[in-house]
Amino acid sequence: MTQSQSIPRPILTILHTLMLIALAWLLFHFVVYVVYANNLIQFPFDYDQGEGFELHDVMLLSQFQSPYADIETFPFYGSIYPPMYHVFLVPFAWLFGAEYWYGRLFSFITTLITAITISWVVYRETYRIKPDADKTLTRMVAVASGLAFLSSNIVYHIGPLFRQHISMFMFETLAVAVFAHVNEIESTPRRRRMLLLGFGLLVIGGYTKQLAAFTAIAILLFLFIRNPRRAIIWGFGFAVVGAGIFALFTITTDGHWWTQTITANVKDFLTDQAIGLARLFLNLHLALLIPALLQLVYEVYFDRISVYSIWFVCTFVLSALAAGTWGAGDSYYATSVAAMCILSGIFISKTVNRGWQFRKNYIRRILIDPFKSATPAITLILIIIMPIVYITYARATLHMPTTGAGFEQIADIFGIEPNADNGFYDSAGRLVGAYADIGHLTTAQDVINGNLIVERINAIPADKLLLSEEAAFSFATNREVITNPVVLYILDQVGHYDSSELVQMLEEQAFGLIVLRARFYPPPVNIAIDTYYEMVEVIPMNGFDYQILRPKN
């Protein structure tokens, strides 16, 4: 007999109806996400600053060249990210050349795998806790948990970008799913295989982006709590492998790997930015944050602490701090969103399946026992509230185009006014600094204007160099990618970049054309640009003004 059969029929009907409404709304967000991904996959230029440089990393690796080179000498290029994401894309580079679509498609698919993993974990954990759980309700909650992850404005923004961050949280989520019950595996060979798989995923995640270190901390802490000896032995092996790869990269790149992935990531801490992003995260995700925290409290006082809880606390706290560094953004919270969706999903699934059990202790005597007589009524109320949690979350994270077939009609019916570029509505607004100014769809005019910039570059002699702040225009005109402005800027700020050679080239007007978007170059470079070059045209594209500069006479 399943639990739902013991729920009064009218309550069950209300529960199913509300759950369907929640799923429909989250599914609508998923449709918006697919439309957005499809739009971006077809866009041939940088959508988010830095995508082109990640593509350049892929192209360098596909030619067996290192992206971790000396940034003080021509072509002044260096990457601050580890190589795994780019390595995965190398076969595509061999097949298709320098294209944006495969990197964006790859990222998009990794978010779908992450969402499916979240759903599967919620489903698995529900049946571990309550083997006779209601199949329909459990599946509904599991699907809602996965969709909730994709519905987060933070995940939506970056999901289909040519950036390494996205596949990182797939590897993190898969690793957590592998480690969750590894200590309970009785067969030693199987347990070792799973540990090896989990640590392998962690190493890949860490060498996709450094932030995966937060997940590694959480997992090592979890293993230590459950089995200190095993944690120390495997943790030591993990550290040796991780450090070995790091040392190898540092030696083979003549120290540039260290400078670019470590030194260039020691940036100023901006308190206002950290607080603003934390508040934004809370505003958007509060509806799921509450059940996630309740699940955490439950585990601390009435159950064993799961890897999900430790993962959530570690990634939330550490990401909140890391999000305050210069150049960071809302995307730093994406891993904690995944952890939050799992924890809240387990809480909600357990509630609708009436799977709560409380150990006898002083907390139960104070908080649970006084309400014992009202338990049936409280349970039914909580069951009805659970789908409302997802509906509230869907409302809080609402984002959609207000133009285009279907979307325009929906926007008109519900009175949704655009508050972002190209007629896009984003519930997060643009109120917080470092909140990514992306999520909108690109237009045909953006592509036309991008091609206009390409035309301007093609108009200069082929032997003249191009200094473009975005690599897209170098690829589109078959010219060498010169500089990675943000890397130069950061290293300049920490005193590890001497811009003399680049400034000298600007003085000599070695570049036939300069294309700027945000002037992320170090101050001496920007001064040299303004001294020896003049702006001749501004071409808008994707919400940004691209400045075209020619040498002064």
Partner: protein, 54 residues
């Protein structure tokens, strides 16, 4: 609880050891203090639960 208490002391110790620093307790230190004090308080509430495995 021990981690929380020791962590709190360690964060205050930064100002004692490195007295030449500017600005007193900084934002990161404040966050660290909140986390460590919270950990210590959490540990206190867990003591009455006895030997239940975490």
């Amino acid at each position: 609880m021990a981690i929380g208490a020791l962590g709190t002391l360690a964060i205050f110790a930064i100002d004692v050891i490195d007295v030449g620093r500017e600005g007193g307790i900084g934002p990161i230190q404040t966050v660290g203090l909140v986390i460590m004090v919270s950990l210590a308080l959490l540990g206190l509430t867990l003591i009455p639960l006895g030997d239940d495995p975490a």
